[in-house]
Subunit: 520 residues, 2 copies
Amino acid sequence: MISGKSLIVGTWADGSGTPFSSYNPATNEKLNDFRGVGLSQIDEAVHGSYEAYRIFKSFGFEQRAAFIDEIASEIEALGDELLETCNKETGLGIPRLTGERGRTCGQLRAFASLIREGSWQQARIDTAIPHRKPIPKPDIRSVLQPIGPVAVFSASNFPLAFSTLGGDTASALAAGNTVVVKGHPSHPATSELCAVAITNAIKKHSMPAGVFSLLQGGDPEVSTHLVKHPKLEAVGFTGSSRVGRILFDAGAARPRPIPVYAEMGSTNPVFILPKALENRGNEIATGLAGSITLGAGQFCTKPGLVFMLKTPDQEAFKQALVEAIGKIQIGNLLNAGITSGYKEKISAYVNNPALTALAGTDMASATLFTVKAADFNANPGLEEEVFGPAALLIECENQEEMMQAIDQLGGHLTGTIHSNEDAEAGAIKLALEEKVGRIIFNGFPTGVEVCPSMHHGGPYPSTTFATATSVGTAAIERFCKVVCYQDAPQTHLPLALKDDNPMGVNRLVNGEFTTNKINA
Amino acid sequence: MISGKSLIVGTWADGSGTPFSSYNPATNEKLNDFRGVGLSQIDEAVHGSYEAYRIFKSFGFEQRAAFIDEIASEIEALGDELLETCNKETGLGIPRLTGERGRTCGQLRAFASLIREGSWQQARIDTAIPHRKPIPKPDIRSVLQPIGPVAVFSASNFPLAFSTLGGDTASALAAGNTVVVKGHPSHPATSELCAVAITNAIKKHSMPAGVFSLLQGGDPEVSTHLVKHPKLEAVGFTGSSRVGRILFDAGAARPRPIPVYAEMGSTNPVFILPKALENRGNEIATGLAGSITLGAGQFCTKPGLVFMLKTPDQEAFKQALVEAIGKIQIGNLLNAGITSGYKEKISAYVNNPALTALAGTDMASATLFTVKAADFNANPGLEEEVFGPAALLIECENQEEMMQAIDQLGGHLTGTIHSNEDAEAGAIKLALEEKVGRIIFNGFPTGVEVCPSMHHGGPYPSTTFATATSVGTAAIERFCKVVCYQDAPQTHLPLALKDDNPMGVNRLVNGEFTTNKINA
């Protein structure tokens, strides 16, 4: 039974704000009633988060890791109820959601392992030189530490992996912070079930209740009030450019500014070079069609811009792509707002004389349009993300037009190069290094591996901080600060900085990386 | 001969903006006339910086390192002229400036060594697993890369080490960026000489001229125009909270926001615990007096707040501190603005009935006031930095009052604990971890070691990003972004990510730190 309540510092409470309901996007059937939280309930949640932080941060790494492992187990213990509830709210289908649940639990366990291993703390030690002239060198040591209460704004397109207990929450908890989640209003029952799971883990591990709160609601005021709370220290957000920027601005304009790590829209340019087209045209067309339509085109890494150089193989490729797209059935979009937004954008494409429709204007398949590079370059709005199964093919007369297009691009999460040792690849790669967070060679941008080297980020407007990733273990760094200790007695040092290195972590000691003890 | 011009992309140009002059703060004698730059000259400098970046970033690490080493040599080659010019403009004295020149050249050479060693790039590699089920794992590699043109705002209080060729410029260049410096108007001839030095290094190493520009001027409009330039990528600033916040806001409010790393005011609380006072009262008094008065109290790490618990030794300590301060002669302050600001603050202290003067209200020595913790806690304005040789002694009736004071504090660069195994030290350290960037035990906060573990930063308002340091080799991270490569051919990978690890850097390979080659 879904209660329709919010979880505020361990108590399930009726929201004192605006009521809303959830809907099945496949059938438009109404599912559940909820009440959004009121402003005083937000204050209560952040205050409780702050009080809990003081306790939670003092727990040992093993306690923290075991708690996070337990969250994963509790998600799994929800069983089919979670998948069925989530499928009703999103229409993403049980196979996809089963995979996404696996990814969500895998992420949590990866962060638990990371905490236990300990090298993520970036311990640095420079030992004293008491007899240095003209003044003695003190002993200096620094390490990453948690920051305090973190707000997480759930995404609609990954109702498990980028939502209530997704990567932002996992990485914030792993660093030793407490979390207040603002649940996405298009899958509130899914969020409630996840909150039940973490509540069970909190009880089993005797964690302070305020370590996690879930605020339900869809009012913009709720979001900005949360970001402005004086005790909040950072924000993780995945969603639209418009909302991401509003929250970023709210964080920056506070009396005490805080970082808002927003992962926003991205159109993920793809460059298909002549030799690759000649050698692998059909293969690329099939792969691209799959990537454009994955999750009904609602991936932040969906390839929305496909650049080609004029070649004899171009027409055959276009035809192969149209055919491949035509074979793929598109499911419903995530909610009514996304559906109407998508239709509006496609209708603008149809009415744009510079664009030619190749597929999907009947909405029976993904949509594909083509445009000459000169027109694309003269019309910067065409770079904007179309959230849904649509892509734009940009036909470049020559490399100069292609390079000019890259130079004009804003920031994107990814850029893809298909090259069979094509001469143009080097220049394109160099240019993309200034424009995207991840450069994929001869592959497709959807599918974001969870691993230490993954960078799911990119220059603005794809994110608000080009140094930050929201996927992979480096995501933990967003929710840490550096604390440095000078001439501290051993008893006052964090574990990772103690002489005998009890965790055995990799440390930068007097400029060299080592797991050795000091003076041993 | 000082030209009074600005260096704009390799050309010495008369500023088209507001004229200003430099003064000797010890004698009020006028020294040189300058013309501040106009807005179109700023545009020219940043545009040239952007063009130069595309060339500079492609140079090898050895080329970059040799260029930075050369800058240090060229500073030294300026000889006594630099020291004498700088002393006239700042009155800081030749011995101090000789030391600061050594620090400045040492910083540059430390960054040159860092580049050559290469591990600062944080290379991460996760190798492919082609047969993984359900889908193959791609090869993912990530590394830090430069970001583009960086603006550096010079500080008045370190006319060499935090100015034209100081730590911000050194770390930005080391990462592979180009730099536009806005020189501080209170030491413009010193800035000009430093610009001559780097111009020589640019010529000797055939660097693009736009790699460095120096803009002279004091108009606030010049500063905000620079921060708002669309091609700028980041800002380093050292100075007042007021100006730092203006620039931070300008950076955040841009159509494309950029980070403004501002290191601003700090009052650096010191906690002297009873047993330390009993055992080392005189020693602490002498050290503290030296730290308060170093550089006429114009260090960002000057201890301005000294907290004590009520003990029988308290009065003797106060007397010892007053005596020690009385023995130290204070030089001139850096400029007329700082002098009048200091006098205003001291006059407000004198007129505050909660404060009692202990020393220096005649301005013959540093000033020392005392206040009861209850009054301090009721008067949050007393936490604000007094830039100059002043400190406030806060007398706490008990630990509770002391802890309440810490809880109310904003962010500071440092916090200091004097403890001889005092029981209170643990709780104070835990509380300070949330408030300061560096915790010093039984020492003094002035004197900031340049080393990998140094963190010269702290929570707002001491800086705008609690993760960033402006001293030490980690300062380079502020001016980098992450770029990730998926399934990239070896030829397209940056050096640090190539299989055979030609630089021999420390890398995180499949979760383990190693300098090993891949598949070797």
